[in-house]
Symmetry: C2
Subunit: 282 residues, 2 copies
Amino acid sequence: MSPTSLAVIGLGAIGGSVAWQARRAGIKTVVGFSPETADLNAAFEAGALTATAPNPEAAAGGAEFTVIAAPPAATLELLDRLAPLIPAGAVITDVASVKVPVVARALKAGLAGRFAGGHPLAGTHASGWGAARADRFRDCVVYVTPTGQLPGDAAAQAVVRFWSEVMQARPVLMTAEAHDRQLAWTSHLPQAVAYALASTLAARGLEPDAFGPGARGTTRLAASQPDLWVEIFLQNRDAVLAALDAAVGDLAALRDAVARGDEAGLRTLFTTAQRFRESLDA
Amino acid sequence: MSPTSLAVIGLGAIGGSVAWQARRAGIKTVVGFSPETADLNAAFEAGALTATAPNPEAAAGGAEFTVIAAPPAATLELLDRLAPLIPAGAVITDVASVKVPVVARALKAGLAGRFAGGHPLAGTHASGWGAARADRFRDCVVYVTPTGQLPGDAAAQAVVRFWSEVMQARPVLMTAEAHDRQLAWTSHLPQAVAYALASTLAARGLEPDAFGPGARGTTRLAASQPDLWVEIFLQNRDAVLAALDAAVGDLAALRDAVARGDEAGLRTLFTTAQRFRESLDA
């Protein structure tokens, strides 16, 4: 059963897409709130919302299902604020990229049984309502992290159904701890590498014309919002550090192989990398 | 004046695109050779060639303009083999990503006045005729490196005209030394970073489904041909090492900022990176 009323707090690339697809999927009432008034109005005008709310409480109050689509620190604060407004039988979830602090805060706010975390693997460097797409989550993996043991309670099952049936995505249940360890490698590390490479290149002062499609693709993530990523890296610090240590080591090893003219060593490294990358498109 | 006869040695993503666009632009005779018989036949069947040749000499002999579209080491060898077949007034060029060794070999082969180097900034991780596109070079920057001083001799001017008038690209004259120093940063470093990141991720053994669009884009270059890149890195070793040293240092600095929880330092680094990346799309 899909919810008949949905609240979406935050109407950027993720929240805007959630609201829009919910309307397309026939959810009767979709109430939105965004601190960005332009995003809120644009989402309403596009038909992604049936009503706008003046604050998060007004949006979530009375909704069967609430999605917090905000950066990690704001998500924690919103869980505290909205917890008293979520009645038994209603469900609240989020979309933050780090799940251990979110699940811990939900438990502390007394939301056990009414909350499960969510994280759609549909990131984009773009932000704001302008990056919302009704089909953003189609066939996209979405991690769902229960507050307790796997496979989770009725709230987790409701979040799974929402992503599967309403958003047309592919939910995957995982503990918050396993999620954060895995995402440190699959998402946070590529983000860090893109930031570091872009800062290295920025220091050279070359003209934009000097960069071809390869450099542009490799650094594209660096266009993402700095504040969001400072939060993510610090909330998942230990796991991100482990991934960064491995990456610094591997880049230094490549550097040393170039320095000593180690053709065979470079070929082995590049072939391993090529096989991995080709496996992602297989 | 465009040449009326063209020879293209190598019919992969770059050579195949050169031949195809040359025919579309109305060059009367386009003779091709490829050591990959399947590529050669497919290029002919697609109408990118007016004739196939059984070897490089048969393709270049009699052509007004010859393009060597081969990996760096093969390019050096082909310059030696083809030099005796290029009459005064004819021109030979190449597309290799490293230009100092190529220009030096052309001079040694006695090709001064008949050769200038070329390098279209239209790289793709894909290879072979299947990656050829007649419009691959449209509006694309192409570096042209004369054998002597800038702006170069008649051969360099002919290579500039070829890329501009026939390929619809944007040629930029540059010395081979300046080219190789610059490309170490703009192209070879992103390639190295993509290889290193992909090898780090490969070692985790995660399922392809675990990687979202960000990780895929950041590692896309790692799908490139290992042999080609071993050659490029070793032929441009000193400049590549300088770039790699800077990148290892910047990634380690990011790691250290995460380790000490330095919010302000991370925000500054990410903002610099974001501004740089946004400037590429401005």
